[in-house]
């Protein structure tokens, strides 16, 4: 559920309810099985997604924060910096631009790289013959 729904404003209460357990019991059992609290797991999952989006998209940091289900840019920046050692902006800057990673095939590059302004007379049907 966390993996599928991290982008929604999920809380630990929602997870406990879905599991049919009280919040305290759910948190205790979750920690026993997975080694970390459900809150920490959810946050980690969101930060991993945010890191992937910082690398693979050119979207603003604010948009990425909301896209992974977090509501406050301030606490996103703080948590991200704690997890990755750098701010989201610095993290992005440490990688080549997302366009370097995009596996855009050469046929697309050729087609879309064609000159946008054509000046050949034959294109407008006014060639002098």
């Amino acid at each position: 559920m966390v993996d599928a729904c991290y982008a929604q404003p999920l809380t630990v209460d929602d997870l406990a309810r879905a599991a049919g357990l009280s919040r305290a019991h759910f948190s205790r059992e979750f920690r026993r099985v997975f080694g970390e609290s459900p809150h920490a797991y959810l946050l980690t999952r969101r930060l991993e997604r945010a890191a992937a989006l910082l690398r693979a998209t050119d979207r603003p940091v604010v948009e990425i924060c909301f896209a992974v289900g977090l509501r406050s840019v301030g606490s996103f920046t703080t948590s991200f910096t704690r997890a990755y050692g750098v701010t989201p902006t610095a993290y992005r800057a440490s990688f080549p631009p997302a366009s370097h990673y995009a596996l855009i095939p050469s046929c697309v590059l050729r087609a879309h790289g064609r000159p946008q302004h054509r000046t050949f007379r034959e294109d407008d049907g006014t060639s002098r013959s």
Binding site: D58, A111, R114
Partner: protein, 142 residues
């Protein structure tokens, strides 16, 4: 081993398509990059969260000078008729997926039905691309 990494569909509006695939179908955004040097070409990919090595490319229909206007029109015409492409999806439980996706606003063109190979249903994305969602029977997999 040769594997599938990306497959593409044409879409009328990339933002509308992205909202459909992420908010209704429940997939995740993989890459979203706009390249000014390619006339604003936008590389936009999505995929199922638990299938990280396969992505669907949501391609805007190219216009001149990338391709000629007649070809752009042909693509739009095929999309309108539902013949511009097919994507086949699988699920563990066709009825449950059908109900969940219907609740999220996906309009199905076929409700779940028993077939020799399993139970399947079908829907179209906002651009008219046909998707078949199948719960493959164990006999068909073996």
């Amino acid at each position: 081993m040769v594997k599938i990494s990306f497959a593409g569909v044409w879409v009328h509006d990339q933002d509308e398509a992205l909202a459909f695939y992420t908010e209704k179908l429940g997939w995740e955004l993989r890459a979203d990059v706009t390249l000014p040097e390619l006339g604003g070409y936008r590389w936009l990919t999505v995929g199922p969260p638990d299938q990280p090595d396969v992505s669907l490319l949501l391609n805007a229909i190219p216009e001149p000078p990338v391709i000629d206007a007649a070809t752009s029109d042909q693509i739009r015409s095929l999309m309108a008729k539902g013949w511009a492409g097919n994507v086949l999806l699988t699920t563990d439980d066709a009825q449950a997926s059908y109900e969940e996706l219907t609740a999220r606003g996906i309009e199905f063109t076929e409700s779940p039905e028993e077939r020799p190979y399993g139970i399947d249903c079908a829907f179209r994305d906002p651009s008219g691309n046909q998707f078949r969602l199948t719960q493959v029977s164990e006999a068909a997999v073996a």
